[in-house]
Amino acid sequence: MNFRFTEGAIDTESARRELQTSSAGGYVSFEGWVRDLNEGQEVTGLEYEAFQELAMKEGDRIVAEALRRFPVKRALCIHRVGSLSLRDMAVWVGVSSVHRGEAFDACRFIIDEVKHRLPIWKKEHYRSGDSGWVNCERCAAAPQHAHAEPEHAEHHHDRVAVSNPK
C-alpha cells in the first residue's frame, strides 16, 4: 500500500525511512499544513472525512501511476483524517529517486492528483463561529459575492459551488 490514512499525527520520520534504498540519491517531500485563512475567512481548525475504501484504492492507483510515469524509486502518500488544528500536517507525500528532477515532478503529480481525485472532504471552522464543507457550500467559484455582502458572512454556507474543482 503506497497510500494510507492516519487518525493521529503523520510520522514523517518513519515514512521517510520507507522510501530509503541504496540506489536512491535523494528524496523530495511535500507537506500540506492547516493554515489560518481560506477564501477570506479566518480558519480556527478543520475536520477531514474520507470515503476510505475507495480513497485508498484510488490513492494507490495515483502513486502507481507516478511510479510508471516518472523514473523514481519509491513513492508514498499519507493523509490525515479527523480533527486538525492550525499548523497540523494534513497530508504528506514523499518520493525517492536516483536524481532530483524526476522526484520533484513525481511529488508534484501525486499531490495534485490526490487533491482532485480522492473522495476526501474538509470542513472548516471559522472564527465567526460558522463552519462549512470546502467546495460544497461556500461559493468558491464566485468569491465576489462574499466581498459584496460581508455582513452576511455567516450565511455563505447557504450558497452552492458552481462546479467541481478541476
Binding site: L54, V91, V114, K115, P119, K122, E137, V160, P165
Partner: protein, 276 residues
C-alpha cells in the same frame, strides 16, 4: 395430529430445453434465479435446499447451497421424492426455478393455508384451473403414493395431484405463478422486474451526511440507475448539490450515472472533494 415443519426445496435439475440455457442461472438485476428463489424461500422457512441431478453437484450456480441430489429417476418427482426421503418428517415448500415473478405475498398465502392432511397444498393455474405442483407444499404422507406413481411409469407431478387430490388455492396474483420458458419470456421478465423495487445500501459523507441526517441506510427503491436514485433521494432530503456537481461510486468504485443497479449494490454520492 402435529404438523410437520416445512423446509424449502428449489428445483434446479431441469433441462431448460426451450430456453436453451440453464434456467437456474438466468440473471435478474445481477442475481441468478436460483439465488432469488433460494432467498425468497429462506424468508419463509428455516431450511432451504436445492434439488439437483447427480451430475450437477459441482456446478458453480448450485454448489454454494445445501443440495439434495436425485437418487431415482428424473424430473420434478425424483427431486421431491429425494427430499422426502432425506428428511422424512418434513413437509416441503417446493418451488420451480423458473418463476421470477413469485412474491413473498404468494408464499405467505400458500403457507398460511397449508392443509397438512392433504398430500399437498397447491395453487390452481390461472390458465386451466389445474394444480400447480411446483409452487406447492408437499406433505410427508405423499412419499409412498409418489413412489407407487413413479413405479407405475408416472412422471407428471400435476397428473399425480389431479389423481390423488390436493388442497387447492386460487392465486391472489396470477402473475406470481407465470413461468419463463423462452428467451422472449425471459426478456419480458427482465424488463418487468427492472421496474420492481429493490434494496440498495447508501452511504453518505460530509455535507450529504449532514443533510440526510445519517451516514448510511438500506432502502427499497424503484430507481434503476444512480441518476434516478439521486433524484429520489434529493427530493427526500433536500440535497443542495446538483447532480452535475457530484460523482458516484457503486460497490466502492467510480461509476457512470446510467449504470444499471443490481440488488444489494452499495451506492455513495461523492460531493466536490477537498483533500490535501
Amino acid at each position: 395430529m402435529s404438523r410437520s415443519p416445512v423446509f424449502g426445496l428449489i428445483l434446479a435439475g431441469g433441462i431448460s430445453r426451450r430456453m436453451n440455457r440453464d434456467k437456474a442461472a438466468l440473471e435478474y438485476r445481477g442475481q441468478t434465479q436460483l439465488d432469488r428463489a433460494f432467498e425468497l424461500a429462506s424468508r419463509h422457512v428455516t431450511h432451504v435446499f436445492v434439488s439437483v441431478r447427480a451430475d450437477q453437484t459441482l456446478d458453480p450456480t448450485r454448489a454454494q447451497r445445501p443440495m439434495i441430489v436425485d437418487s431415482a429417476g428424473e424430473g420434478p418427482i425424483a427431486g421431491i421424492r429425494a427430499a422426502l426421503a432425506a428428511h422424512p418428517k418434513a413437509a416441503w415448500l417446493v418451488l420451480a426455478c423458473d418463476l421470477p415473478y413469485l412474491s413473498d405475498a404468494a408464499l405467505e398465502y400458500l403457507l398460511r393455508r397449508r392443509d397438512a392432511a392433504a398430500f399437498a397444498t397447491a395453487y390452481t393455474s390461472a390458465h386451466d384451473g389445474l394444480p400447480e405442483p411446483l409452487c406447492a407444499i408437499w406433505e410427508p404422507s405423499a412419499a409412498e403414493a409418489l413412489a407407487d406413481y413413479q413405479a407405475g411409469g408416472g412422471h407428471c407431478p400435476r397428473k399425480f395431484l389431479i389423481r390423488h387430490g390436493a388442497r387447492l388455492l386460487e392465486p391472489q396474483d396470477t402473475r406470481a405463478l407465470e413461468n419463463v420458458n423462452t428467451p422472449e419470456e425471459y426478456r419480458q421478465a427482465i424488463a418487468t422486474l427492472e421496474k420492481a423495487p429493490m434494496q440498495l445500501k447508501i452511504q453518505y459523507y460530509a455535507l450529504m451526511r449532514e443533510q440526510a441526517g445519517r451516514s448510511e441506510e438500506t432502502l427499497e427503491t424503484s430507481a434503476s440507475t444512480p441518476a434516478g436514485l439521486y433524484q429520489e433521494l434529493a427530493a427526500r432530503y433536500g440535497f443542495t448539490l446538483s447532480r452535475d456537481q457530484l460523482k458516484v461510486a457503486v460497490n466502492s468504485e467510480f461509476s457512470d450515472w446510467s449504470r444499471k443497479l443490481n440488488v444489494g449494490d452499495a451506492v455513495v454520492f461523492i460531493p466536490p472533494v477537498a483533500g490535501g
